[in-house]
Amino acid sequence: MSASQSAVRSRAEAVAVSRTFDWMILFVLFTVVLGGYHIHFMLTGGDWDFWSDWKDRRLWVTVVPIVAITFPAAVQACLWWRYRLPIGATLCVLALLLGEWINRYMNFWGWTYFPINICFPSQLIPGAIILDVVLMLSGSMTLTAVAGGLGWGLIFYPSNWPVIAPLHQPVEYNGMMFTLADLSGYHYVRTGTPEYIRMVEKGTLRTFGKDVAPVSAFFSGFVSVIIYFLWHFFGKWFAGTGFIADDAS
């Protein structure tokens, strides 16, 4: 077989090779995104995502969706504009959560013995499905940024509430009131993470009384819209193949 001949000799072989190629690329994409997104998210979301006593109704709700919409926007740009595949956001979030769960179970629990109920990751899959479906239905980056990005921010708190609500039950402990999450953070000693590092319940949303989570979620959604645009362009640029001569021409 010369170099100019095809490696496959029938349509069936071509399909089989194409499918093999699909799974290989999907696997590589999944693991590369897992690594990159995970590092990005640990560096930017960090403790808000690590600890249950950081998952508050103001800053966690605000920060996590904003820093988490980055990779989904970028990967969506690549998979949609090149392949019309509306799975970029879901793929990213599934990869991130798999990496996070491996980390939380193997390291946080298996290595340093923090119970999982203090160090579980935030839930992002519902927001990712919204982003992917809005992109598929609209085929528009702008609409996905505005409607999808807003939805991404707004659904974050409700989608996590079934998991964190039990930890927000109040407890009286040695004459002070805690939530169960606060008490976990106090009981399970983090030598390198003093309490004052915890950025929760800070801000100026006092006029909204106790109902600040929706306001925070709206704000998070608005900023997510902007971040979506930015990272969507990053994704488009990064997925370019201008370095290939044929494509460049």
């Binding site: 019309r84 499905i129 992917d132 409700p158 040695n174 000693v189 390198g192």
Partner: protein, 414 residues
């Protein structure tokens, strides 16, 4: 010859593999907390821990240990460290091998950060409940915002038993009894698994057909619009609506299941009450101080005046958690960590009882290997070469007075 060379080569390879394997399996426990690497001035001129007591050296899982004592917030706090306006009484242990069942400063529970005042002395107590078996080095620790962790003395405590026996029962304000060690974990796994399955289902829907090459070819040839069918859109709408409705319903059912929830509790606690210590009747002036590098000894020339009504003797100099004792006056009976105790480390040129009204100039030498072992000698490389510490004087009845000293230090290299 070639056979011998081959044998040597193959044996060397095997030896290399064995060495690598052994290195991988050799994972000694990291038990130190970096206390020796912390700048000497941080340990000497910030928080002075004293009168420390670890209630037990060995406990079973679920039993408690209390660490109690006092700490003095040094009045000459170094400029390069933020003042302790936001501080957290922590504990230096390798992860949650104990749980912190309680911590108090001045009798006030301090689960959150506190404001401390310079020059004041506070009593404290930390209650630890044993969780994970092993030998653990347990340090007192004060975290200061803008200053970092200021670590105090550490002592080894052994935990026996099995971690599987550990329980952490809590009663909520709604009357529910639960074990915080395991509470809600099943719920966390369940919802994460459900949503992960939904995400995988969405991925699978698209991955079951050709993904990359055929779709890329279609897009490149201008047939991108044919790649999303009406069926795809219907499935997408089902996922979208299902996701939104499911979350709305779950929000409602969760609120019904947990009608009483409160926000996370936060905020600095102010107004912590310091100890009301009597004003010392002994006054001390540091005339000069030198640190002799070859001898690992610090020498101070002090002018001591006894303004009280009972004669006193100098019994101890303490700095950076290292206690230098004058053996004729004081013997430690508290079980203080050996490596931080220089039982005969303090020499006073004239330590005969200082009578009321008397003033005396003495030369005091604090010498011990601890200067080197605990890297306190590095003080001479600090940008602000000063030392600080606590002097403890004892009268005839055994009453103790604490006097703070703070002065420039001149190194002596010969």
């Amino acid at each position: 010859m070639k056979i011998i060379k081959d044998k040597i080569a193959s044996l060397s390879f095997v030896a290399l593999l064995m060495a690598l394997t052994a290195a991988m399996f050799y994972t000694p426990t990291a038990s130190a907390h970096g206390e020796k690497s912390q700048a000497a001035f941080m340990r000497m001129r910030t928080i002075h821990w004293y009168d420390l007591n670890w209630s037990k050296d060995e406990v079973a899982v679920n039993e408690t240990v209390t660490i109690s004592g006092k700490f003095h917030v040094f009045g000459g706090w170094p400029e390069s460290v933020d003042e302790p306006d936001v501080s957290f009484l922590n504990i230096g242990i390798p992860g949650p091998v104990f749980i912190r069942a309680g911590s108090w400063i001045g009798g006030q529970l301090v689960p959150r950060s506190v404001a401390l005042s310079l020059g004041e002395t506070y009593d404290f107590k930390v209650l630890l409940k044993a969780r994970r078996p092993g030998d653990w080095h347990v340090h007192t620790m004060m975290n200061v915002q803008g200053g970092g962790p200021i670590i105090g003395p550490g002592k080894w405590v052994t935990i026996t038993g099995s971690m599987s026996q550990f329980v952490n029962p809590i009663v909520t304000l709604t009357g529910k009894t639960l074990d915080l060690e395991t509470y809600n974990i099943g719920n966390i796994y369940f919802w994460h698994a459900i949503w992960y399955a939904v995400g995988v289902a969405w991925m699978w829907y698209w991955a079951k057909g050709p993904i990359f090459i055929p779709r890329q070819l279609a897009v490149a040839s201008g047939k991108a619009n044919t790649l999303i069918s009406s069926g795809d859109k219907k499935v997408g709408i089902a996922f979208l609506v299902g996701t939104i409705v499911a979350n709305a319903v779950l929000m409602g059912t969760t609120n019904e299941a947990y009608p009483v929830t409160t926000p996370l509790q936060a905020g600095t606690m102010r107004g912590i009450i310091p100890l009301e210590l009597p004003v010392p009747s002994v006054s001390v002036v540091v005339d000069d101080a030198t640190y002799r590098v070859p001898g690992r000894a610090m020498q101070m020339s002090l002018t001591i005046t006894n303004n009280g009504d009972s004669s006193v003797r100098l019994g101890e100099f303490m700095t950076a958690s290292v206690r230098f004792l004058e053996p004729d006056v004081l013997e430690d009976e508290t079980g203080y960590p050996d490596d931080l105790l220089a039982e005969e480390g303090l020499t006073v040129s004239d330590n005969s009882p200082l009578a009321p009204g008397e003033t005396r100039s003495v030369s005091v030498t604090a010498s011990d290997a601890a200067w080197e072992v605990y890297r306190l000698a590095d003080l001479i490389y600090d940008p602000d070469s000063r030392f600080a510490g606590l002097l403890f004087f004892y009268d005839e009845a055994g009453n103790r007075q604490m006097v703070m000293v703070d002065a420039p230090l001149i190194p002596s290299f010969i």
